[in-house]
Structure formats: C-alpha cells, structure tokens
Symmetry: C2
Subunit: 341 residues, 2 copies
DNA sequence: TTGTACGCGTTATCAA
DNA sequence: TTGATAACGCGTACAA
C-alpha cells in the first residue's frame, strides 16, 4: 500500500472547494458535471498526484472489473497461448486479468480460488489441475452465483457450466490413423492420467482408430504416466521391451520429445524404426530432429472464446443456467517423425 | 463479485448474538477472544458459507499482502523460472503474487503500473520492457514511498533502488573467449537493443574479449536487432555476406536457434564452419542439433532474492534509501555448437 | 449542475 | 473477554 500517496478525492475536494461527490463524478467522467469543473478537477488531480483507490471503489460498486485465471502452468506453451487470447479479449472488454498457476496441485488450486473469491474477481476461467478430482471449491464458488468457464479440461461435475475444449477423441483418432496409414502395425500409446477426461478421450481415440482398422489392442503397448520429461524416458525404456513396436502416439509433446531423444541414444532410427506423433505443438517439436508430427490446439482462440463467454455471463447473470460450450477442432501438423522416408 | 455470497461478519454476528467486532477478531484468530466463542463463530462462518471480503479488509488495514510482478513475457523460459522463484518466496512470506506481462510495450507497462498502484499492492518487482526509456511511471510510484525491486534489467535512472541482475559483461566475455580459444578468428555478434543496459554489457563483453586477445573489432560483424526468431534469420542472411566468419555469439538463444536452423538449410555446418553460442539456456537449446552452447541465468534464485529484498523493504519502509543490490554470476553451459570436432 | 448523507465490509480504538 | 463506535475511500440516491 502506498503510505506516501495519501491523496484522496477529499483532498481534491478541499483544495478546490468542491464537494467530494462532484470530484468523484468528475474523475469518473460522469456527464452529470460541467465540462469546466471536470477539467479543473482532473487537472488538480494530476497536479496532486492523485491515484484512485480501487479497493474502496470496488468495495462500493461491488465489481472489480477483474477476471481470475487459474491454469496449471503458465510456462507451458499451450497455456501461454491461451493466456494471450484471454488478455486480448479481456482488455478489449475493459477487464483486468489476474493469472494464477496451480502447478497441477489441488491444494494450490483451492487456495487460489479462495483468494480470488475473497478479492471478489468478477468471474473465473479455470483449467483444473491434474490432481483435481474433488470439486467442492469450484462448486461453492459457482453455487454463490459466480461465473465460471472451464478451459481445455471441462469437468463432468458441472454439466451446466460453460466450457471451451477441443475434440480430443477426433484428434487422437486422426493421429493414430495416420500412423496406421503409414503402414505401422504395432502402435504404442503414452497415455496421461486417466482421471482426467481429456486424457481418457485421447486414449479412446487411439483405441478406436486401431479397432476400426482391425488392429487388436495390446494393453502392453499403453504406458500411463503424467507425461513429464522423465516419464517420456522411462516409458521409452519400457517400450523397448517390445521390439515389434513401430509407432508411438504420445498424449503430449513433452514425453514424445524426451522419448525420441532417448531412443536416438539407443540407436533407434526415428521415424524409420519407430514413427512418432505428439500432442500440443510445443515449439520444441519444430526444432527437434526429426521434427515432430503433432496436434495443434488453437489456444489463442480458446482463450478468446472463453473470455467472451465469461464476460457475457458476468454481464448477464440471469443467463447463468444456460449452457454455452464449444468444442474446437485441433489440427494435425505433419512433420518428419511420422513419415516414411 | 459474488452477488450471491452476501454473508458478512454482521450476518454471523446476528445469528449468534455476538458483536461483529468479536466476530472479526475470531475470524482473524485473535487471541483476544475466548476459545469457546471463537470456535462457535468459526463453525457458524463455514456453516453459512462466509467468504471474507478482502477489499474491505485491505481498505481498512491499508495492506493487501500482495506483490505485483511486471515482466515482459511470462512464456519466456528465463522469466518463467524467475516467477517460480518469486512465487515460492512470496508464499512462504505470506504474500500473494499478481503476475502481469508488458509484452515489451511501454504503454502496457504504464497501464499495469497504474492498475497495480490503484489496487494498492504492497510492492512491485519489475523487469522493464524493451521500449522503456522513460521512467516517469516508475518514478512517481517510487516517489510515493512504494517499494520496488528491479530484476534482470536494472535502470540507471534509479541508482538508489534495489536490483537483482547478472554479470552480463563477464558472461559475454567468457563466451567470446571460449570461441577464441577454439581457434575462431572472425566472430560475429547478434546484439540486442542498445538502449537496454544488459545488451550494452553483452556487447561490451564481446568486444572486450576480442580486444584482449588482439583481435580487431569489425563493426560489420555486429548485427543489432530485438533478437526475435525472425531477426535470427535475417541477421544470419546478412552474416553470410562475410564468408570468413567462423564464430557467432548471439545475445539470446532465440536468435541463435533460428540462425542455426537457417544456416543449416544453406548447407553451413555447425559448428565446423561456424561455431555458435547463445544466451539464456532456453529448453530448445538442449534439443536442437547441434545442441547449443549457452549461458544459464539463475532465474529461480534471482526471483527468490528479489522477493526477499522486496519483502524486507515492505516490512521496513525506513530502509528505503538503502541500496541493496546483487549481481549474480551466470554459468556457461558448453554443448556441441561451440566445440571443434 | 452540485451538494448532502449514507453505506459498502472490515478493523482499530476505546470503554465496559 | 466483549461491545460500541468510528473510520478506511469511494459512489450514489436524493435533495437542492
């Protein structure tokens, strides 16, 4: 808090012999004050170095013009693009944005929700953490008639809530199908935590593609983890126990990339011996050799859409019950790691 | 704002026939209330779904327990590590963190400063934007006796302010020296905007290393830009006009990486024909082929230290005048792009 | 167009 | 240990 900046509307009021209510109106560009007084007041305000106290203002008006954003990790490329979309739309609409990262921890997510709620943000955009299987913190926030829009990781617990996501099933299906079309017969899958819907969908898409092409599903070929860099390596090690494997579809790029690097050290030729497809279109996927075929999620657009929805909900709280959701179609980006030479 | 959550301490007060001041004390775990009443109050509070209003509390106490952070771009790896350090220390110390990105725009930086100031954050950590050559917004904030600590990009405009940075000169000197020791005679430099101190230092370090090894400085070998991906490519193109160039020290990894990729498409062998060193230890630097020799900045530690300093300043506003700064030593990470085969 | 008066929810101060 | 009261800075009905 600015201990030094003690200038309030009352100081301006006294300095000009104008009532503080008029000062308030002038500083808010209300039409209910003459142009002349307004200019006089605004001039004095800058002269005195007046700095509005949003705490008081927000307390009085019961609005903060602020949107809270909770995501697992800001450094992840996909979320960074989502944030860019959120900020662009939010600023256009006159909202500030407070970005918080849960670091995939439920405990942190709960603390952040409480903090945002007690600071009275006007609404929350959330992509839940991997640990989030209980939803009480979100439920109580929603039950108090607060707007929430889910991004990327919709929750079945709130079918009535708006959410923006992508068609994970289709993306996975298409990726797996591509490998099949390239002649791969034994395709492995690095799957994510199965308590999370989107990773379930990705696994289903993989399995569905196999089935529809009359390839039997081998459970040994499915390696579940949280898809960290280390997981990519350890899963790649396990994968090598099945020398017949000639394709890999990983539910994210991180694990795909570290797996490729590990496999290369073991003398495996990518894609000749094992073709690889990832998910997320991480910047590294373009640089690694061979460049990684992957799935691009329209993060920026997702952020924009989610923010538009949230702002709409904020402005029309009566629409609360209405379910506005959107499922976008991700794009398969074909690079070298999936191609036959 | 939660329109639904109308529960205040007064509601609890009425429900229990206890004065609201006692309720306030109980909810703040004040020792000045009996254990029995406190428990009764806290029970009732959760029962009614009470959610503290921080706006009111902060207005009254004149503190927000919140630190504002202004950085150019959260997605950049270095800043992501800085943020991690900031958050860890801040939470330990009981502070919330509000992260804002200027996107290297002075205009946005000013708006963010105003917003943070009017929301009465307790202090600000800032890494100024590339555009920031005027400092009025920061000056007026500091002049109002608000704590500020500069990170990574200290400003000569505020010699009395604390800042955490690294020894850019030494890092550059060492990098350039390494290239010289590897026998490179014609070393180019991708330099950053020279209105920014740290890029000046990096250029100076480069030039100093050449001089001290009796290599004359060729101004044609120095290419200035904002070091974006596109700049890396265009500078690489220009660089090819000087076929004698056999070494490149880039003031960041982004430009070094795109340059390497461009040069490879032109059939240039890295490092055989041109050895390359970057700056920042971006995750891509490890994956690209050849892996990129680069300079690692201790971002996490910088974030921690800066936050510790800021918190100290917040708690001891009298120390304001005292200049606490720290210059850390970055680490040269030697990979393949600088090594002779 | 401007002024009066009050309240937003909380906490600090003083008194009981 | 608890209660009564005022105040933080601002915005807004209502009156003038």
């Amino acid at each position: 808090m600015s201990k030094g900046n003690k200038i309030t509307i009352h100081d301006i009021s006294k300095a000009l012999n104008i009532d503080s209510s008029t000062v308030s109106r002038a500083l808010n560009n209300s039409p209910r004050v003459s142009v002349k007084t307004r200019e006089k007041i605004q001039k004095k305000a800058t002269e005195l170095g007046y700095q509005r106290n949003s705490l008081a203002s927000n307390l009085r008006t019961n609005r903060t013009n602020t949107i809270g954003v909770i995501i697992p990790r800001i450094a992840r490329h996909f979320f960074a693009t989502v944030i860019a979309g959120i900020e662009e739309t939010a600023y256009e609409e006159g909202y500030n944005v407070v970005i918080c990262q849960s670091l995939e921890s439920l405990d942190r997510e709960i603390k952040i929700m409480n903090s945002l709620a007690s600071n009275r943000v006007d609404g929350i955009l959330i992509s839940t953490s991997m640990e989030t299987s209980k939803f009480d913190h979100i439920k109580s926030y929603i039950d108090n008639n607060n707007p929430v829009v889910f991004i990327d990781r919709p929750s079945e617990a709130f079918p009535e809530c708006s959410n923006i996501s992508i068609d994970n099933f289709k993306a996975s299906y298409d990726a797996t199908k591509l490998l099949i079309e390239k002649g791969r017969k034994h395709i492995a899958h690095f799957s994510g935590p199965q308590n999370i819907g989107l990773y379930q969908e990705r696994k289903k898409g993989y399995m569905s593609a196999l089935q529809e092409h009359n390839i039997s599903i081998n459970k040994n070929y499915i390696f579940e983890s949280i898809l960290s860099e280390e997981d990519g390596i350890s899963c790649a090690k396990k994968l090598l126990k099945y020398p017949e494997i000639d394709g890999l579809y990983s539910a994210n790029d991180t694990a795909a990339i570290s797996a490729i690097q590990y496999l290369k050290t073991k003398g495996i030729q990518i894609p000749k011996q094992i073709a690889v497809i990832g998910f997320n279109n991480d910047p590294i996927s373009e640089v690694i050799e061979p460049s990684l075929t992957t799935i691009h999620q329209p993060g920026f657009e997702m952020g924009k859409l989610a923010t538009e929805m949230l702002v709409h909900q904020i402005k029309n709280k009566s629409d609360k019950g209405i379910h506005h959701s959107k499922i976008l179609v991700p794009e398969l980006i074909i690079r070298k790691s999936s191609e036959n030479e």
